[in-house]
């Protein structure tokens, strides 16, 4: 009797110490974890990203060398250290940025303690969450596709975690992993219909459940509300889309496409900033349009800032936004997701023909004690030149003479305007705009810096205008008596290509190989796909979902309508899946047996069923004893014996013939009372 308890105990032992992961299993789990963390790394502070990478690499190497379980003495301090680090870096642990950083670090820690299948599965579940959260920061098409593809790695890991018989476990594991990836990819492909059905009909939330999207420090590039000599530099080499515009009418000339962003009026010698008072909503309307009004729709990429861009100069504010005193549009809340709005602009306009003394003073202010040479130059112009208009043209001819446009501008010292005007003489839009505005103010003409975008690529295929971050631009506005604010683009004086072709074309010599013309052209064409993705998927919201069922007579689909449709369509899909799975196999079985079974069934219907223990010959003998039983059936039974047992393989022609005859056999409805011999009890 001792055997049973021992066996049971042994089994319990096996359960308690769950199977330890094999090397391929662990490697795949580590790969999945790394794939989940990787999209987050570039966004994190360098030290933090480094910590995570080091943690993962150390664990992988340690485990590959056959290292033991990591003791709690090492794990516990790490568990405490990581939240502390997150708080130290981000200030708290809530919100998207710190939350995902914490999740990434915890996932890395999970890998450190992963030893058994259960750990690995938990790590994979967690990794899928981390993978998903990467999309909260970047919703680009390519990025989404890459992450979806990464799901097949996660599924391959789950596949690998399934126990395998011993000989299979030791197979060539590259082949093994390939098989897992194939199974994962197949599962994803098979899931696409169901996924789309749920995606389309799952009711969206009108407002967030918890106060989510107000967010912390952002790492997105975009226009800021201040400008120092280097602030635009990152932007000018960033090829990502800033916004897309579709015009109701003809597209304005390139030289007219100035997209107005924040207007900067305060200068402290180095940095231009936006005055707070400008944020006030504009009182009354002081724009007088001279030309036609342009109507268009802008789809703004998320910037985490509140600027809305519009063609210079907007005549009205879009919904949920105000137009400031400086004619720039400010949204009510930061743009943290793709935003679509309509705007109207006047391309030829008169702005602020009357300037209040207060405003005039503000636009003439200069920091004392900076840039004496520039002030002297301005004073000289004031003395020598007849009127304001001549003064506004003076710097342009100066720039045209011996200034040079380049994105690789040298550093400037304390007197940044002087340094630029008299020493380096090379720079890009913001240097020119800053110097120009400074000179105007020094000469007593109210002036300010306007930042925004200039130009844009028109995609003829999609009939829309794409403006990239690299189209960021800065120009000046001067106020002239009788004309109001007039736009002056000093960069255009130096480098007309900047306005005609764009920043990178203007930078010319310093262009990288990846900015070569054909590549840029290709990228511009490809942007059509991004736009389609944005409008179809990213922009799909509650409102558009509600209008989904309009063709079916439901003007505004409520959530219960949507859920009904969701249940209906997914049921149909699942029925299709089930049909695919449950359909009977084609193989009808052995033809001879099928015919024999049919013969027996026919006889059974006539009341003379074959008993389970009867062979064909015994059966035939019994039938012979039943009065009125047809001779043909007995003959067929005998023939079956001949076909089945006379040789190893019955000739298929004979089998076919036998089958036909069985099918054609007609038996009298009942020729026998139920006449089954009682079962013979064996054993």
């Amino acid at each position: 009797m001792p055997a049973r308890p021992r066996a049971a105990a042994g089994c319990d032992d096996v359960k308690r110490s769950a199977p330890v992961l094999t090397a391929p299993q662990f490697a795949l789990t580590a790969a999945s974890v790394f794939a989940a963390v990787l999209p987050h790394l570039p966004r994190m502070p360098k030290m933090f990203a480094l910590l995570i990478v080091v943690l993962l690499a150390w664990r992988l190497v340690q485990r590959m060398r056959g290292g033991a379980r990591i003791p709690a003495l090492i794990k516990l301090p790490l568990v405490v250290l990581i939240p502390v680090l997150v708080i130290g870096t981000y200030g708290n642990v809530f919100g998207r940025e710190p939350g995902t950083a914490l999740a990434c670090a915890m996932l890395a820690l999970k890998l450190v303690e992963t030893e058994t299948r259960r750990d690995a599965r938990a790590a994979i579940a967690f990794a899928s969450f981390v993978l998903m959260s990467a999309l909260l920061f970047n919703s680009a098409l390519v990025f989404t596709l890459v992450l979806c593809a990464a799901l097949s790695l996660l599924l391959a890991t789950l596949y690998e975690l399934e126990p395998r018989p011993e000989p299979a476990a030791s197979r060539n594991w590259r082949k093994h992993v390939g098989e897992g990836l194939r199974v994962g990819a197949f599962a994803l492909l098979a899931a696409v219909p169901l996924c789309l059905c749920v995606f389309i009909f799952l009711p969206r939330l009108g407002s967030p459940l918890w106060g989510a999207p107000t967010d912390d420090r952002s790492s997105r590039t975009g226009l800021g509300d201040e400008m120092d000599p280097t602030s635009l530099q990152d932007l000018l080499i960033d090829d990502s889309a800033a916004f897309r515009v579709s015009f109701d009418g003809p597209v304005p000339e390139r030289a007219q496409r100035y997209w107005r962003g924040p207007v900067l009026t305060r200068f402290d010698g180095k940095v231009w900033t936006r005055s707070r008072y400008l944020a006030d909503a504009r009182r009354g309307d002081s724009v007088e349009s001279i030309g036609a009004i342009v109507d268009y729709e802008i789809t703004l990429e998320p910037s985490d800032r509140r600027w809305l861009l519009a063609l210079d100069v907007p005549v009205a504010a879009p919904e949920n936004a105000v137009r400031g005193a400086d004619m720039s549009l400010v949204s009510d809340k930061p743009v943290d997701q793709l935003l679509r709005y309509r705007a109207r602009s006047a391309l030829r306009y008169q702005l602020d023909v009357q300037l209040s003394a207060r405003e005039r003073e503000r636009n003439l202010m200069l920091p004392p004690g900076f840039d004496p040479r520039a002030r002297a130059l301005a004073a000289q112009w004031r003395r020598e030149l007849p009127d304001d208009e001549a003064i506004t043209r003076a710097p342009l001819s100066l720039f045209r003479k011996d200034f040079f446009y380049t994105l690789a501008a040298p550093d400037l010292g304390r007197d940044s305007v002087d340094d630029f005007l008299f020493e380096t003489r090379r720079g890009f839009c913001q240097h020119f705009a800053s110097a120009y505005t400074f000179l105007m103010r020094a000469a007593g003409i109210p002036a300010r810096v306007v930042t925004g975008y200039q130009g844009g690529y028109f995609n003829t295929l999609g009939n829309y205008l794409l403006v990239r971050q690299s189209d960021a631009h800065a120009w000046s506005e001067v106020w002239l008596k009788g004309r109001g604010w007039v736009r002056v683009d000093p960069t255009g004086a130096v480098s007309p290509q900047r306005v005609e072709l764009g920043a990178q074309a203007a930078a010319g010599a310093s262009a990288q190989w990846y900015h070569s013309d054909w590549l840029v052209g290709l990228r511009n064409q490809f942007d059509l796909v991004n736009r389609g993705w944005n409008s179809l998927v990213v922009q799909f919201n509650e409102l558009r979902q509600q209008s989904l069922l309009t063709p079916f007579g439901i003007a505004k689909a409520e959530y219960y309508d949507l859920i009904g449709v969701l249940i209906g369509t997914s049921t149909i899909l699942l029925a299709l899946y089930s049909w695919w799975v449950l359909r009977r196999p084609r193989d009808p079985g052995d033809a001879l047996d099928v015919a024999y079974v049919r013969l027996c069934r026919k006889l059974a219907r006539s009341g003379a069923a074959r008993a389970a223990h009867e062979g064909p010959r015994t059966y035939a003998r019994r039938l012979r004893g039943i009065p009125g039983s047809p001779r043909s059936a007995q003959v067929l039974l005998e023939r079956y014996v001949g076909l089945r047992y006379a040789r190893a393989l019955a000739p298929s022609a004979a089998v076919r013939e036998f089958g036909t005859e069985v099918r054609n056999l007609r038996l009298p409805r009942t020729f026998a009372k139920v006449n089954v011999p009682g079962p013979i009890v064996t054993r």
């Binding site: 009797m1 055997a3 049973r4 066996a7 049971a8 089994c11 998207r96 259960r118 599965r121 579940a125 967690f126 899928s128 969450f129 998903m132 959260s133 999309l135 909260l136 919703s139 990025f143 989404t144 992450l147 979806c148 799901l151 599924l155 789950l158 596949y159 975690l161 399934e162 126990p163 395998r164 018989p165 199974v183 599962a187 994803l188 098979a190 899931a191 169901l194 996924c195 749920v198 995606f199 799952l202 969206r204 939330l205 967030p208 459940l209 918890w210 989510a212 999207p213 997701q337 998927v537 990213v538 799909f540 919201n541 899946y577 089930s578 695919w580 799975v581 449950l582 196999p585 193989d587």
Partner: protein, 314 residues
């Protein structure tokens, strides 16, 4: 009524009733439930869903839906893995009570290979694949008592492909393996073993074989006369010359001092010893006599007779 139930839901009605081989698994008898990991994973999916909805982030929602749908449809792959699997044959290896009983099972499935199938018999779990139509599994079950040992229900299940769903079915094949009696440990020497053993010993020392005869498949390999076989180009077996009168008699009556099961164990141990010593023996039980003889046939016949002796109280 019962017949309909039997046809529609065989796993419910056949639970206690053994079935004849081959047993084919089909949709009426395959059951599916999510595993613990499956439930945990769906909770994670739910959290992802709430996050994506809350941030109104459609790409994240798309990714969540894709993963969720992929997980959900894996139930169909899991079902396909088990559907159509047939248990074709079962074969028990000889074993004594108290030792684990090893059973070789052969499964068959048409078409695609089946991965990560698992069998659970009495707390023992075995993993196997079916590739190229056939899959063989060797499972072991505890065998406590001599006699016919029924295997009981076998749980055939799989968590293929991702471990999120368990698909299972019960197999209750009409199969019993014969478990031989326990061998007594430290049994006394064979009765009359002294003279018989001495007899053989003298013969062996003189190397006088009575005769050589042709090899039969049942002969133990150690009795093959390799040198003689090489000379005659066919396998020959040494046969010791023994007289009928010198057979070892293993008498039921000779163990009268012991309790019932111990007597059986003693006789089984003697049978084993006699076979090991290459002595012809005869087993005399109350109702039957086996032998005299020597070799695997005699050995298994004796053990079978001992195994099937009625129980003590009956």
């Amino acid at each position: 009524m019962l017949a309909v139930a039997e046809r529609r839901l065989p796993a419910l009605t056949r639970l206690k009733q053994p079935e004849a081989l081959p047993i084919r698994l089909h949709r009426h008898r395959i059951y599916v439930l999510p595993t613990r990991f499956g439930l945990m994973f769906s909770a994670v999916l739910l959290v992802m869903l709430m996050g994506a909805l809350n941030y109104n982030n459609n790409p994240a929602l798309l990714l969540t839906c894709l993963l969720g749908a992929a997980c959900y449809q894996s139930v169909f792959q899991a079902f396909r893995c088990v559907n159509g699997v047939q248990l074709v044959s079962l074969q028990g290896e000889p074993c004594h009570a108290g030792e684990p009983l090893h059973i070789n099972q052969t499964f068959h499935a048409d078409g695609r290979p089946r991965r990560s199938l698992r069998l659970r018999v009495a707390d023992q779990e075995t993993v196997f694949d079916i590739a190229g139509g056939d899959g063989r599994v060797r499972i072991s079950a505890p065998a406590e008592l001599r006699g016919w040992c029924r295997l009981g229900r076998i749980r055939l299940y799989s968590e293929y492909p991702f471990g999120l769903f368990q698909v299972w079915s019960w197999l209750n094949p009409d199969f019993a393996a014969l478990v031989y009696p326990r061998l007594e440990v430290g049994a006394p020497p064979l009765p009359h073993a002294d003279d018989a053993a001495a007899d053989v010993a003298t013969k062996r020392s003189g190397d006088e074989f009575g005769m050589l005869r042709d090899y039969h498949a049942s002969d133990p390999r150690r009795s093959i006369a390799w040198k003689a076989s090489a000379r005659h180009d066919k396998l020959l077996v040494k046969e010791f010359e023994q007289r009928r009168g010198q057979d070892v008699a293993l008498e039921w009556a000779a163990t009268a001092t012991l309790v019932y099961e111990a007597r059986i164990s003693r006789l089984a141990a003697w049978v084993h010893a006699a076979e090991a010593a290459q002595l012809r023996y005869v087993l005399r039980l109350p109702d039957e006599t086996v032998g005299p003889g020597l070799g695997p046939d005699q050995y298994h016949a004796c053990l079978r007779a001992l195994a099937l002796l009625p129980g003590a109280t009956t």
